[in-house]
Symmetry: C2
Subunit: 390 residues, 2 copies
C-alpha cells in the first residue's frame, strides 16, 4: 500500500517498512508509520468514501496492511455512530453536543480499532504468538482478533480487572494470567518472559500499529461531521493511543487537503485516583512521572505511567486544550445522568469525559454554542461491578 | 410515508394507520403493517442504498414512521456485520458459513431493532408511558430507547434474569420490577396493571411495530449478500419476531422486485429446556402449547408460549426448514468453539444456532456447499453468569 517508512517519535530515526518492530532501536521510544499521502489520496477521496464499507478499513489507503485481501483481520470494527445529544444538550444549554459511541465496536470497546490493525500486521509479518498487558479492554480485543487470525494470545491483567474482561478472553481461547498489581506490573511480566517464550509484545505504543488503528477515530470524526472538526473533544486517557492517533490523523487529513489547519481543543480526562497526565500538564512538565497508588473504578484509566506521555502532553498543549481529573463518584453518577436522558450505557471512562465537560462548561472554558464531542470508549456492560443494587 | 393500513395476521380485518393499536380488536391476534411498495420503491432503490446511513433506518420507506426527522429515536442500531467464518468453515468443510453479529447493536442485542421502531412510533403517536415484560434484552433496549425519547419505561423481568439486563435498565432510568416467575408471568402482570397505570403494552407482537424494526434483519441479509438470499438460516426463537419479520421482509423485497421467489430454509433454534416450537413442529401442529417447566441458561429462549407461534410454524414449514432443540451444555460449549476460532463472543442463543447447524450438517440436512447464515442475537458480555471460572 502506501507506507513509506517508520519514524521514531522522539529521535526521528527512520526504519524501512515490512519488518517486525517494537520500539525505536536507537532510543527506545514509540515508532510512527509514515505514508505517501499523495498516492493514498488518488483512490481515497471524500467521494469514494461515500460508498465504502461501514468499518474503519474504509480508510485502508492510510492503514499499514500491505495485502488487505489476505491479511486484514476484521470483526466489523469502527464506523461507530457519532450521535447528537439533544436532551442532555437542552439540560446544559448546549446546542451541539455529541457522543461517539465506541461501545458498539466488536468486543464492546474502542480497543478493537487498535487490535485489528496490530493483529492484521502481525499476521502479515508472520508473527505467531502475541502477548499484551492490559487494564481489560485491550485484552478482550486482542483475544478476539488473535483468535480470528489463528494466533496465540497471552494476556496479563490485574487481578481486580472486571470479570467481563477475564471471561471474554477465556471464551476467545486466550491464555490469561492475572497479576496482583497494576498494568505496569503486567507489562513488566510480559517484558520479562517474552524473549524466552517467543512472544511479540503488543503493549500500547510498544508496537507501531495499534495507533494506526486508533487514528481512524480522527478520520471518522471528520467524515461524520462533514469534514469540519469540532471545537473541543473530551477523551479518556489511559495509555493515550487514541488521543495521539487522532492528532496524527488530523495532520494526515490536512496533508490530504481534506481539512484546514484548525484543530479541536483536546481535553484529556483521567480519574482523580490516577491522573499522571493531569498532574504533568498542570505542572508544565513535558513528561509525566509514575502516579503513586493508582486506583479508580474506571479500569481503563488505571495506567500510572504511559510511554507516550510526552506526545500526549505536546498535542494537548498545541491544541489549546487541557487535562481534567474526575472523581469516581462523579463518573458513576454521570453514567446514569447520560443513560436516563439519552439511553446510552457509558463506560465509566466515557462518563468521566461527560463529567469533565460539565465542569469546564460551568467554569466557562467550554462555550454553550461550541461543537463538543465526548468519546465513550466502551459499553457499560463491561463494568457491572461499578453499579449498585438500587 | 408509505403505510397504507394494518391487517390482522389471523382474521384479515384491516385498520387505518395513524392510531394507537395493540392486538386485533376483532380476534386478539397480532397486526401487520402494509405499505404501498410501489411508492416506496421510487426512492428506496438498490442504487440509493449504496450511500445511505449505516443503520437500519436506511430502509425508512418501508418502516412505519410518518415523520422521520421528528420522531425516529436512533442510537445507531442495525447494519451489523455479516461475516464469513473461514476458520469454522474449514473445520466443518463448509465454504460459505456466515454469522450476522447482532451483538454490535446499541444495548448489545438485536432487540434494539424492534425497540427503535416501537419507541419511535410511540413518540409519533403521543404515547408517554411504556411497559414491557422481557426475558432481558428487550428490557434493556426498551429502557434505552424510552430514555432517549423522554418516555417512561416500566419493565418486568424474571428474578433470575442476567444481572447485565437488570443493571442496564436501571442505569437508563427505567422502573424495574423483578418477578418470581417466567416472562409469561411478567406479561400477565403488565396486562393486569396497564389500564390503571396508563401504560402502553410493548410486549412482543402485541403492538405492530417491533416486528417492523426486526424485519430489517431480512433486508440487510439480502443487501449484504448482494441480493441473493442464503440457502439456510438459523435463528434462535423466543417470541419469534425476528423470524416472522424476516419472512415478511422477503415478501416485501419480492414485491419491490429486488429478489425472486426463492426463500432460505429457516431453522428455528430453541433450548431443550424450552422448545414449544420444536415440539409443535415435530407434532405437525399449527399452534404451540405452553412448554412446561421452562428452563435454560439462554434467557432469551425462556419463552414457554409465544403469541406468534402459528405464524412462525407456517413460515418454517413453507420455507422447507425445521426446528431444532439444543442442550444448554452444547450451547455453552459452542460459545468457546466459535470464540477461539473466530473471535466472536456469542450469546448462548447465537451459540445454540451454531450447535444446531453442526447437528444438521452431520445429519446431512445441511450441505457443505450451501450458503448458511447463523444469527447471533446478542453479545456474550450480557451473559457472564453462564461462564465458569476455568
Amino acid at each position: 500500500m502506501n507506507v513509506t517508512k517508520l519514524v521514531c517519535s522522539a529521535c526521528g530515526v527512520t526504519f524501512a517498512p515490512g519488518k517486525v518492530y517494537n520500539l525505536c532501536a536507537t532510543c527506545g521510544m514509540p515508532l510512527f508509520v509514515l505514508y505517501d499521502l499523495e498516492a493514498a489520496g488518488r483512490t481515497l477521496t471524500k467521494e469514494a468514501l461515500r460508498t465504502r464499507e461501514a468499518n474503519m478499513w474504509r480508510y485502508r489507503e492510510v492503514l499499514p496492511v500491505e495485502n488487505p485481501a489476505e491479511n486484514i483481520v476484521c470483526l466489523g470494527e469502527g464506523w461507530t455512530p457519532l450521535m447528537p445529544m439533544p436532551r442532555l444538550g437542552a439540560e446544559l444549554g448546549m446546542a451541539n453536543l455529541y457522543i461517539k459511541d465506541e461501545g458498539q465496536n466488536p468486543t464492546g470497546s474502542f480497543k478493537a480499532r487498535g487490535m485489528t490493525a496490530a493483529v492484521s500486521m502481525a499476521k502479515e509479518l508472520g508473527i505467531k504468538k502475541l502477548a499484551v498487558p492490559s487494564a481489560g479492554n485491550a485484552a478482550g480485543a486482542m483475544a478476539a482478533y488473535a483468535a480470528r487470525a489463528g494466533l496465540e494470545a497471552h494476556i496479563f491483567m490485574p487481578q481486580d480487572t472486571p470479570q467481563a474482561n477475564v471471561i471474554e478472553c477465556r471464551e476467545m481461547g486466550a491464555q490469561v494470567t492475572l497479576i496482583d498489581g497494576l498494568i505496569t506490573d503486567c507489562g513488566a511480566e510480559v517484558a520479562r518472559r517474552k524473549e524466552a517464550e517467543g512472544w511479540f509484545d503488543v503493549s500500547t505504543l510498544k508496537e507501531p500499529y495499534r495507533i494506526e488503528g486508533k487514528k481512524t477515530l480522527g478520520y471518522e470524526l471528520a467524515e461524520q461531521l462533514d469534514w469540519e472538526l469540532p471545537d473541543a473533544l473530551f477523551y479518556p486517557t489511559g495509555g493515550g493511543t487514541g488521543l495521539i492517533g487522532m492528532w496524527k490523523a488530523f495532520d494526515e487529513m490536512e496533508e490530504l487537503g481534506w481539512i484546514g489547519s484548525h484543530r479541536p481543543r483536546i481535553y484529556s480526562v483521567q480519574a482523580e485516583g490516577c491522573a499522571p497526565i493531569v498532574r504533568a500538564f498542570e505542572a508544565g512538565q513535558t513528561h509525566a512521572g509514575e502516579f503513586p497508588n493508582a486506583h479508580t473504578k474506571a479500569s481503563g484509566l488505571r495506567v500510572p505511567k504511559a510511554i507516550g506521555d510526552f506526545i500526549m502532553l505536546e498535542a494537548i498543549r498545541k491544541s489549546g486544550g487541557g487535562a481534567v481529573a474526575v472523581s469516581d463518584n462523579a463518573m458513576i453518577k454521570a453514567v446514569r445522568e447520560v443513560g436516563q436522558l439519552e439511553g446510552l450505557f457509558l463506560a465509566p471512562e466515557g462518563a468521566a469525559c461527560y463529567a469533565a465537560m460539565v465542569d469546564l462548561l460551568e467554569a466557562g472554558q467550554i462555550g454553550e454554542d461550541e461543537r463538543v464531542v465526548i468519546f465513550n470508549t466502551g459499553t457499560g456492560l463491561k463494568y457491572l461491578e461499578c453499579f449498585g443494587e438500587d
